[in-house]
Symmetry: C2
Subunit: 283 residues, 2 copies
Amino acid sequence: MGQIIDGKTLAAEIDKQTMTEVQKLKNQGVEPHLVVVLVGENPASQIYVRNKEKRASKLGIKSTLVTMNADISENELLLKIQELNQTEDVNAILVQMPLPKHIDAFKVTMAIDPRKDVDGFHPVNVGKLFEGKTQHTPIACTPQGIMEMFQKYHIDIQGKRAVVVGRSSIVGKPMAALLLNANATVTLAHSYTKDLAALTKEADILVVATGIAHFIKEDQVKEGAAVIDVGMDRDENGKLTGDVDFENVEKHVSYITPVPKGVGPMTISMLMKQTVNLTKWSI
Amino acid sequence: MGQIIDGKTLAAEIDKQTMTEVQKLKNQGVEPHLVVVLVGENPASQIYVRNKEKRASKLGIKSTLVTMNADISENELLLKIQELNQTEDVNAILVQMPLPKHIDAFKVTMAIDPRKDVDGFHPVNVGKLFEGKTQHTPIACTPQGIMEMFQKYHIDIQGKRAVVVGRSSIVGKPMAALLLNANATVTLAHSYTKDLAALTKEADILVVATGIAHFIKEDQVKEGAAVIDVGMDRDENGKLTGDVDFENVEKHVSYITPVPKGVGPMTISMLMKQTVNLTKWSI
């Protein structure tokens, strides 16, 4: 039976450290300030944004929600970002995705001041990550949270075979970069990959981010692997589940994250930690 | 016997296309202009720089060599780059590496205007490459030249297993990104990789950039693979050779690049092509 990586407890620990850091900053007269921009009324986005605001408030971080109508022009949004870039009191800017189709999301990402890019999605930050220049570089929160898990559970990375399934900009690619920087031999697999099982069976570290419920079965993992499940899927009964068939895979691995209470809770904690880091770096 | 990929002939073809593009620009009253900055008197660097100047001149590209003493301060170099960034007549800036140890090479790379970054090393360009946003993005010339080889020889990439050995910023990392963007399943191997032979034997496409003469032997390649040798090494007799044991590996593969006359000649041709592209994009 694999050891279950307790993301919820680890996230709480990180939040506690963040609160201490926030207090230190406040003692210096600095209040970390996160601005979240929400365009339109996507119900899922509204929940995500509310959760971020709640967490910020709990940790003593100032947060501001800027809401804009779904029919604003791209230029209006770009002007708003420019304004936030120039507002000294704003340390971190997050534009909630997805954006309405008439707005070029990459252009919006490019418009955020890299020093306030709390999601770590600006190409200059992505480039620095891939170059291994990670000092004072914001990095995508989900893979950063996974790295915290490896550290907390003393899971060795150097020299290990790591396979990342899914090549999104939010998870797969920055995950591959972080594992590479930690000296793993990294393979990035995706929808064009042939004979995926042969590949995942070689992985000492397997990170799965496909968005397909129970995509990874027990015959696709290596005995003793560490398996990280980034999925937030619904099973046939509408119950929240992951990309990994946890019940059966668990027996074969050394470490595994559950869904829920695995990777999920870490992301928002890393976002708060990164807000504080951006604030510290700006001083 | 594998088909030998003739880099020299392909490079000449690209040069011919570049000459046509230069002529078109000149007809519009625009002369592409590459500035090469050379700090100090490293003999190898002097040769590289001279070769670039010669090629530019042959293709009708204006080139200027800026030489600076080895003992200039980092700041003096940064100011020079700033000046070149602001000179409208300059389309492409290349700072010849390596730089003297007292100068932070990454800071210098960061200082070049990304729109004039003919080497494609600026992190914003690296980030765009990894995000698949490659339109009007300069990309490292050696891996770009290798992609031209795949295209010219109709070597399929999509869905193939690609292994890149060596993770430099100049070759390995951008190569991995380009192969990933072309839908290969990409593994990046390096000095910490264990059981490298097992990995390289799975590769349909194997790109080797280790700088170690004859590093890849015949029992390390898959039958029918396409093997690209980025090495420019010296054998025991001082003769120029590659990272692949060409004579023995050749028998097992479908395509292979020789050294010399393989990847080598492509890089400088891609540099000239990219100078012209930067010029076109700036109009």
